[in-house]
Symmetry: D2
Subunit: 350 residues, 4 copies
């Protein structure tokens, strides 16, 4: 339910409606009874970092635990760039559209290329490199992608390799926003592992907030040249939690075993169940998403009716009479809730 | 214990070694099972804000929940000031010394006045106003104090009234950092209530992190002219938690009854027990602190011995042979831990 | 000549190749022998400001003299906006493309709308207002136009009125970049006077650098609410000249009589002579420009040949075999130089 | 005269009351009749840079011409530092007190040490290094000095060597503000040449504004690691003049022969004449200045009387009945003006 008392169905608005998975809550309760060193230097944070480094296969990588995605993006990007250097992202990129200009607030322009199924292409990067060639323009320096993308799609290994090769050819840094990396790694058709992502990027982050944690993202800085003094910058941006173990022990729980991918798999499975069910009911999709976000197309009247039953994002106009909405599932979404939504939609559109 | 396995005594390093009070953990577990609207608009955050507003007696006040103290200071100060406007603080002020230049990183100079027992005085403010008088200097615009101060001392009502009167006379904003407000409100000798603080400041914050929460500060913006568009700025600074209920439901638990002040009282009581015990053992204090931070003076050799038994902050040199250290207690400090420390110190200094 | 010794013709690269008009040099020599108060408070700056205010018909307007266009844009925009507020400009706008991210470096995003003949349209503004509606996006707050535009075109009075009406309806500020306002005011077909521009904008600037001065722009802040403390901000940005009279006495010379418009008229006349001559020689134009910038289309081979004879900007691709270049004239361009260029082109393209 | 019509004597307020030396005005007039490439790439700027590099004896040095001192300081410092890095300066330093927080506006804290005769000492630097040791504090990274200092004093070679050695030992950059370097190099007792200064600093600037130019400072970046992409940053800060030759040809005139030092010598000679004359009249000095700024001590009543005759800065209180004022001479100060002032003072204080 989403606050206004009108929804009889669960909310499908996003993957951060519910709190933390029980195992993370247990870890927090356990650690709450201990005394830990502050500011992310506690044993849980150090252990979680070790687990992640091991999983990434890059022993020299540095891990920093932060509170949220926008914070992580702005921290990393402003730490990595000099004042005149700019970000390259797709026009639908989170840093380009949904972070209230957080990157610009740190002084850096975000140059945008048109997306293809939510993804950045080498051609898009090349066009921006061709346009920005003198000191009267910003200097493109960091390529930003997110996986999954804002449209729920996945990068393939070949796609990331092509982007990284282009970065290497032009002295660009490659940064991957993994707010929904759990869903990406667990998706059918994914051919990228954490090892691949760590090998192909200079830095990336692993999202906890949208994958079963109360809050928290793990910034992995693979490239040693980018690691200097990051804790100063984290403190300066107000991003260093006094009780750093709060994020550390949640990531410890996510990465001690396979929980991180399991939760992503659960979210994906419920979204795919919903996508199949809606298609079976005759609802077209904007895009065939393999992850935990799906984009059905409905007539305006049906959208209004749905809005009285559940909660979701209005995504984009589609035609004069139709629009795209977004349904998102999470680590906590119950199959029954999905089935109830399918049933309700089938009743509407029949 | 502080990581190195040598301490037989509890740590007295700070008030953020332990996690959250059990009632807050319960609230988090309970809320984790619900679906809540994101970004701080959930029912828990809204309810917690109502509780705080009611306790402050300023119905027009706005409350925003943030993750930590540095984040709250930089968010509020940069939201309230134009680029050329500066902060006035004491030289020991947290924003002046221990936030890695977070305020300057948002573009604003921090002007400092000498502290008197950790406190800012009207004379200190006046001296800075006399020095900064033209467009070739920054324009002093916001007076920053913290209560309790960095030296564990308390402002009296008369002292805040005098500072506010001076602010009014010179068009200055008055901002109070309440990272340790729980301890302040519960201290013996305190004559300030939340109602007083809300009436005397334009904005202030109530610290959760150092008073029993996993994380979280409640920024209370009393002055309507300062309230416009703050949620934009919170998002832009990376300070808006997707699962805002994480902080909201902890403040709900702290303010539904008297827990907030109870936890401060507990921290104070254990610190006072420690201060009395140390004085009885012949240990002098830098300052007579009424709150949860105390500042004993020890011979260097004793400090080395103590460092093998417990954990604390080295505060300042005192004489050629002595230095000041800081012991801090928290909502979770056990009287037995205090007694064990007193016993150990008595053994040392006898 | 343009430095490399190959050009037999004058340069047509821009309107800042030559220094200052003799009357401005005289004024500088005269004032150099005096003693003047510093920082723009000298008699020449004050007098020049009075002359401009009188010419604008807005007695409450404030005038500040600055060194260049990028400096003026970044100073004004960052002074007028709060951190989360954004600029609306056309995609060809100077602040969007040719100022090395100067606006973003002050923390503000520049939202872009597609241009129509170099101009911003109400529809373009409305589309951006529709897209940026929540605290997760920047808040559009200032509409930026330049006159003449980057394509040498002119806004009509009706166009500026429509944009201002839209601004008023949505609480937006309206700012006009007049780096080439001299050319605009002197152009055939112009129906806007300084009085109109001052009445229709909240602030604008009058360009000296591109209209006969060694350097200098006059920022006119019409709206009283935007005038507070601007001198602090000018100093803070490094934009306050110690010898402020250097710009002040040049503007005094430009506005004591009609010199400012005369110089614009001269630049326009030579550009129009060139445009007519080229058209007569069969050269097509990208756009029919009424001002001192013209945009002929040439075959690539002709462009290469021209580059050996004179100096100009490569503007944009046009077709597989053709491209657009830009010729610019100035207050100092001699008709004979124009005729020589026409002659050379005619020889090439015949 | 200082605007109010009351002064019968010349102004001694500063060294930027007069415009440019006639040879610089001639150079400007000459260059105004040419066509030059824009943005500082013209032949005059290139030649002036070559002259300066040759005079400095550091062939790898890069020279950039900027408009004023605050602009140069903020440009260089923000180009050289990462966001968490801070400046070390004396408490009287120009960047610390008289630039409206320009350095902080670029995000960097200025740490201050107490001055000794206006100068920074190794002990002052060491104390700040001892205090700022963790990621909770800014990281000291650049040592800023000015020569002459704000008190008109000179650094010796030994003093700069000691500071540079300390910088090298701690990985600090050494930057010298030479707004009044002309006066320094020409002062009696100076044992530093341009070659020394270039060898001892990582970057410094040579002031034109206060030594006979209309405007302009020459930033000399000696250290290659600091040279990358500076033109991007100059453009981004609004500091790149379209007609860059305006500064370039003035520096060409200053450095083609010995004019730069001659003008400094003239300013010093007139100031020394004034200092000697005042001392002979019984006026004590705050400090024995060898340069073009002197600091006499007067009774309040005499200061009031002087203020009706000439113009100067009120510097600081001295005793209950006395205060310090500042008289400054320039390249243009006439000996007769000095003698008239001495005569007037002698009449007052006799």
């Amino acid at each position: 339910m989403d606050g206004n008392g009108m929804a009889q169905l669960a909310s499908f608005r996003n993957d951060y409606s519910e709190g933390a998975h029980p195992r993370l809550l247990e870890a927090l309760a356990q650690a709450s009874g201990e005394q830990n060193i502050g500011y992310g230097l506690d044993r849980h944070s150090l252990h979680a970092a070790e687990l992640i480094v091991a999983r990434c296969g890059q022993p020299q990588a540095q891990v920093h635990f932060l509170a949220g995605g926008t914070q992580t993006n702005l921290l990393a990007i402003s730490a990595f760039l000099r004042p005149h250097e700019a970000v390259i992202a797709v026009d639908t990129g989170h840093v380009a559209t949904h972070e209230t200009g957080a990157i610009e607030a740190t002084g850096h322009k975000v140059l945008v290329a048109p997306h293809v199924d939510g993804k950045l292409t080498p051609d898009g990067v090349r066009a921006l490199l061709r346009e920005n060639t003198s000191e009267h323009m910003v200097k493109p320096r960091l390529v930003y992608v997110s996986n999954t993308t804002e449209l729920g799609t996945l990068y393939t290994r070949a796609e990331l390799q092509a982007l990284r090769a282009l970065c290497d050819a032009h002295g660009l840094l490659f940064f991957l926003d993994g707010a929904r990396l759990g869903s990406a790694l667990a998706a059918a058709g994914d051919d990228l592992s954490l090892v691949d992502i760590a090998a192909l990027t200079h830095a990336f982050y692993i999202g906890g907030t949208k994958n079963g944690a109360l809050l928290g993202e793990a910034l992995v800085v693979v490239e040693p040249a980018l690691q200097t003094d990051l804790r100063y910058l984290i403190k300066q941006r107000g991003a260093m939690l006094a009780k750093g173990m709060v994020v550390g022990c949640q990531f410890e729980a996510l990465f001690e075993g396979g929980l991180f991918v399991e939760l992503g798999a659960h979210a994906n499975a419920t979204a795919q169940r919903l996508q199949s069910g809606l298609k079976a009911a005759g609802v077209p999709m904007l895009i065939d998403s393999p992850s935990n976000q799906i984009f059905p197309v409905f007539a305006h009247a049906h959208i209004e009716a749905l809005a009285r039953m559940t909660s979701f994002e209005h995504w984009a106009p589609y035609s004069d009479s139709q629009a795209v909405i977004r349904f998102v599932t999470s680590w906590a979404t119950r199959p029954e809730s999905v089935d109830a939504l399918i049933h309700a939609v089938a009743g509407l559109v029949r």
